[in-house]
Amino acid sequence: MDKLILSKKVILCAGTGGVGKTTISAALGVRAAILGRKVLVLTVDPAQRLATALGINRLQSEDLLVPNQNFPGKLYAAVVESQSVFDSFIRENIKSESLVKKILRNRIYLRLSTGFSGSQEFTALERFLKSYTSEKYDLIILDTPPTGHAINFLDGAAKLEALFQDSVVKWFMKPIGNQNILLSFVSRGTNLAFKALEMITGAEFVTELVEFFSDVFGLKDILVQRMKKVREIFAQQDSAFVLVTSFDSLKMNEAKIFREELMSRGFELSAVIVNRCFPETKAEEIPPKVRPYYQALQKFYQVHREALASLKTTVGTGVEFIEVSDFDQEVYDLKSLEELSRAL
């Protein structure tokens, strides 16, 4: 991984939940700092697992210089706080202070910034873009939001973009000077659909919805532009996608799909980190009393071993494979992260 760490500006760690992606991202960060780079590890995980792995109890939403480090480079870490990223996005892109205040109070907005599907992906990418354009770091490692499917984080923001499309926003917008919302719509179909929404959600909700969409009109262009910029950065030569997967045949099958999906979007997969591998040894080195148990475990892991071999064949050359043994996984402080980073 050293070659990637030294040559890239951005490393994106993708993978499904529960594969140890956050820990691997942190370990990559440590490795980069050991190699002398000024590196930021950005994680979106709300359970703050990175904080645990880095041995600090709390991470602010601002970039934080990880304490007690003694590396040639410097290691920074931050947690993407969806709400605060969204709030700054509104503050920075809406000029009227009273309008900003109004939006931040709107209950639809309060749900949007944390509850809309795609919000977490958007805020992660927006937060990344800010750190990237600040040019403060040699390398940014982005631990992508955990998704059911590794590729979903790239599409998540698109959902939000679709929601902010003019047609949608206009549809909900309150016509200026007209307080009677429902009567102002010309299309009878639209009017009926609105009534249907009102039947389900209540008039109060519809009113706030209309207010919200009227207020954020105009943000869509900025949102779309910023996400476009992010995709451009990801497609550049100095960005690398790393897939973290666990030693599990089902997860490894997903890795194949992930690579295809990446390629179809014009991105390239640089490395696959297979986490928590069962360390195989020669059976004759094991005392006879434990040998049957070793063989039972080995047999249990056989199907996963075969899936890994098949994955390597499918992916072919040009993608680096790194197997991390389950042995190296006891991560509770910076020192243990340093040990794990050696495996990378």
């Binding site: 359970a47 749900r111 499917h149 909900f172 006891e330």
Partner: protein
């Protein structure tokens, strides 16, 4: 963590007690289809074994069923879903999918919507972050929408969900650092935020022979020693959280998904 396998084992155990059981998975892609080698797992229940059916609740299907409940006039319903804008909104809207899933899960108890002929529903839920979003959805909604049919339904869903005489919560962990930390955080959040008392299951425990790590010399024995020490440490952490901790082994000799679920369900039975 093996959450899906444990969910399946719980469903197998309930079915073996003679209860009509529905095993449900959430999300867009079926895991159980592969695990149980079924031709298809869909929204409509598929027969798995005696007393046990399996379903996948994709959010769009749940939303449709949920909305249909409020818009019994077919034309209005069609209008709602054929409207592109409305579809975009519904797909991204805060908590609507979550609410529809919970609405479906609690519909039997609330005696609302299409009847579901089951004594128990076992749901293989999302992992931590998304699971909390699921639980928080009705609360967020009832704060946004207080009145109207939606508001009333939301309140009823919340009541059913938080009533521990009808709904039980099971957290699946392993005896490793990060999973046990995450389980502890989730356990405490469920207790403080929702007043819930989840059952904790520690999965995938290794049980090598008694003397396996005596005079450990080989790298495999060192590995085992490391695993066993870690296991002991975090099992203790989990037991402090929940004294009724349920222990499940890493099943090394299963012949497939059904056998795995069966073996685990037998272990669950042993521990009552």
């Amino acid at each position: 963590m093996g959450k899906s396998a444990v969910s399946a084992a719980l469903a197998f155990q309930q079915a073996s007690l003679g209860r009509r059981t529905l095993l449900v998975e959430l999300g867009e892609r079926s895991f159980f289809q592969e695990m149980f080698q079924l031709p298809k797992v869909d929204y409509e229940p598929t027969y798995l074994k005696e007393n046990l059916d399996v379903s996948i609740w994709k959010s769009e299907k749940c939303i449709r069923e949920y909305v249909l409940h409020y818009l019994p006039i077919k034309k209005l319903y069609q209008l709602f879903f054929e409207n592109r804008v409305m579809r975009t909104f519904i797909n991204a809207a805060p908590a609507i999918a979550e609410l529809a899933i919970l609405g479906k899960a609690t519909s039997g108890v609330r005696k609302i919507g299409p009847p579901m002929d089951y004594d128990v529903i076992v749901i293989d839920c999302f992992s931590t972050g998304h699971f909390l979003a699921l639980l928080r959805a009705p609360k967020g909604f009832s704060e946004t929408i207080k009145s109207g049919p939606f508001g009333e339904q939301t309140a009823a869903i919340t009541r059913t969900m938080l009533d521990e005489s009808t709904t039980a919560y099971v957290l699946v962990s392993t005896a490793e650092t990060l999973p046990s930390v995450e389980t502890r955080e989730l356990f405490e959040t469920l207790r403080s935020e929702f007043g819930l008392h989840p059952l904790v299951i520690c999965n995938r425990l290794l049980h090598p022979p008694q003397d396996a790590i005596e005079n450990e010399q080989s790298s495999f024995q060192k590995y085992l020693k490391f695993i066993l020490e870690r296991q002991e440490k975090y099992e203790k952490t989990l037991r402090e959280l929940s004294p009724q901790l349920v222990e499940l082994p890493l099943v090394l000799d299963s012949t497939g998904g059904r056998d795995l679920a069966h073996q685990l369900s037998e272990k669950l039975k042993d521990q009552n």
